[in-house]
Amino acid sequence: MASLGSWALVLSLVVSLYGAIAAFVGARQRSRRFVESAQNAVWAVAALVTLASILLLYFLITHDFQVKYVYQYTSTHLPLVYRISAFWAGQEGSLLLWLWLLAILTVIVVQHRDRPRQVRPYLLATLALTETFLAFLMVAMDNPFATYSARPLEGVGMLPLLENPGMVIHPPVLFLGYAAYTVPFAFALAALMSGELSTAWVKAMRRWNLFAWLSLGVGILIGAWWSYVELGWGGYWAWDPVENASLIPWLIGTAFVHSAMMEERRGMHRVWNMVLPTLAFVLCLFATLVTRGGIIVSDLHGFASNLQPIAYYLLAFIALVLGGSFSLIYYRRRQLESERQVEHLLSREGFFVLVNLLFCGAGLIVFLGTVYPSLAQALRGLQVSLDASFYNRAIGPLMVVIVCVMGICPVIGWQRLSAKNMTNLSFPLLAALVLTVVAFILGITEPFPLISTAICAFVIFSLLGMVTRDLLARRRSTGENYARALITLLSKARRRYGAYLVHLGIILIAIGITGSTFYKREQLVALSPGESTVLGDYRVQYEDYSAETLNPEPATSQSRIRYATTLSVYRADSKVSTLVPHKSYHWTLDTPWVTEVAIYSSLKEDVYVILASLEEDGLAGFEMIINPLVNWIWIGGGVLLLGTLIAVWPEGRAKAVED
């Protein structure tokens, strides 16, 4: 049965390669027959890869330990949901997931027949070629269907850290983002190859671009949340190479979301819009190179430590993509000239260029920080590590400017700043100033949190001001009541209001990051059962401890002794929560200890307790942390999701009714 899976992958490699060639030949010879054949090929690839994926799921669910992948990542103790998520626990399955998502997206892209005729075959060729590359990686090196000659009775089991709801959704969402970034890139490359360089392609791929950006962003946030609740070090972002690797394409993608709008609306930024999607796509491949290729030195993640064969293939493909795209951009440079020039620095056009530069700058900083230790080792033989302060100091100032621009840019008009814009800006500026003074009086005295308060308030008031002005204008002209006017505005200008919501989401995230970075309080205490300690506004009482053995036979990764402590959290003498931080000893693992934190969460702050040590007599060491405003990061993520969905929701149906 497993050989069926292997054959499905080999066939999908052959068929996708055929599809890429047929589409390319069809494009050069303007032959519909070839293009249609290529179209059938990508359908066949989607069917084959779906078959392979269902087979792998079937093996995982039914405990077919003869399949190496099933043996390595699951055991009979593992609940169903984690057996399914074992699909993406290793490299082979991750690649299959990526290819599966890409195959489905490709079919959907190809379905739309409204694209310019010359562009479509090239689009098809690019997508099919990327499928070929991913299928090749699996067939050549990482076949998820490799089997043992005999069938083991029990599997090794999943790493306990991966047994978390975060693991169930984080990788698929992230890979959806990686796969989706192939689409804007394919559109750009197709435009370049066909020479059909009108701005139509930007309109055609707008939803795809936002979709890719959203998936990647939400994937990163879920990863941060997972790290916060599972890794147990008290934070959500460590600037670890693996985290950085997914952030870099998102930063470049954010620049592209804005830049694409400039081309659509003003016919500008046309070279940017070829370079940015190419970079975003290549950086998604780079992310795999970081996590799997063994080129980056990482302290936190124990990833492969020497250069893996997959690294060479990825580097070769990246070089091919960059070389090909940039030569085409150079070749077509005359056709890519902007329709307009920026006439004033203080105009919306000017600010959009600034946004591009800032996001690319931030991407560059994270990229350099990620590769710096490896470069230093390779070039100068130095063993160096770069700590989080580098990123905070280098990116912090850029983020401040980006947030400011977010408050200014939507208010001011195209072409140049007008007097009316200035009046509209002065209200939020004044309100932000007042709020900052209040914050200062209330005890926020460090410079960065003060600046952050000021700019976040500025943006929120600026957004509120814009919505209020629209609302009043609508009410004056139509006489609708406020609620009705707001709803019509929302449904008529979905893109604009979606963008406002996304900006609001980012501000909420910024507030959460500022609070938890600057006002985090930690303490290390040793308590005996019955003793208590004061932590901020809370009193934490250590009640009791216990030890129990779980899943002893047969021994797998899921076999463990669980040491648990029970703590009561009081605020103003009333009990608000019971926390059970615990540690488990998994005796079959190389790293047997796994710590599970306990969190009491509220909108104001999180009480985060880690069980650091436990003696035989019950004397326990706790690391207790107060993390202010962390919840706003996740709430901001939700607002961002909602805003993007509003902006991308098809307008077709509503329009049809209006007509």
Partner: protein
């Protein structure tokens, strides 16, 4: 009519050139600032890895470094009441006492390769603010 048109065209062109110049200068300033942010911070935020041999040869220096060596099993002392951990890291050249205020890491045992971040204080003890133990993980097997 045509003269007027030409004049305004020339004017527009002049404006465009001026705009472009300002624009390039503005862009250049931003790029310089970003480069400065990177270069000025990369040195200050790097911590160098030093082996026990290098640390002993250099002597107490009070600068932030990362010391690497193997844990000496018998030297581990853990005071659960004060939450103070003492141990030694060693290589062929000798051993170095380490003091860490915090719980013992989960893999702390004889022979584990350790990275201790902190300062080699003049008291002759390495005062660590973080102890990292290199663990062979499942990913590394592949």
């Amino acid at each position: 009519m045509t003269e007027l048109g030409l004049a305004s065209q020339a004017q527009a062109q002049g404006r465009r050139m001026g705009g472009r110049m300002r624009f390039i200068i503005g862009g250049a300033i931003i790029i310089v600032v970003i480069a400065w942010l990177i270069l000025s911070n990369i040195g200050g935020s790097s911590t160098y890895y030093l082996t026990v041999e290098e640390l002993l040869a250099e002597g107490p220096s009070n600068r932030l470094v990362r010391g690497t060596g193997f844990i000496v099993g018998q030297s581990i002392e853990w005071d659960p009441q004060q939450m103070v951990l003492r141990f030694e890291i060693a290589d062929e050249s000798g051993s170095l006492p380490v003091l860490y205020k915090g719980p013992p890491p989960d893999l702390l045992e004889e022979g584990t390769q350790a990275v201790v971040e902190g300062r080699y204080a003049s008291s002759g003890v390495f005062e660590a603010t973080a102890v990292l133990l290199k663990c062979p993980s499942k990913y590394a097997e592949e």
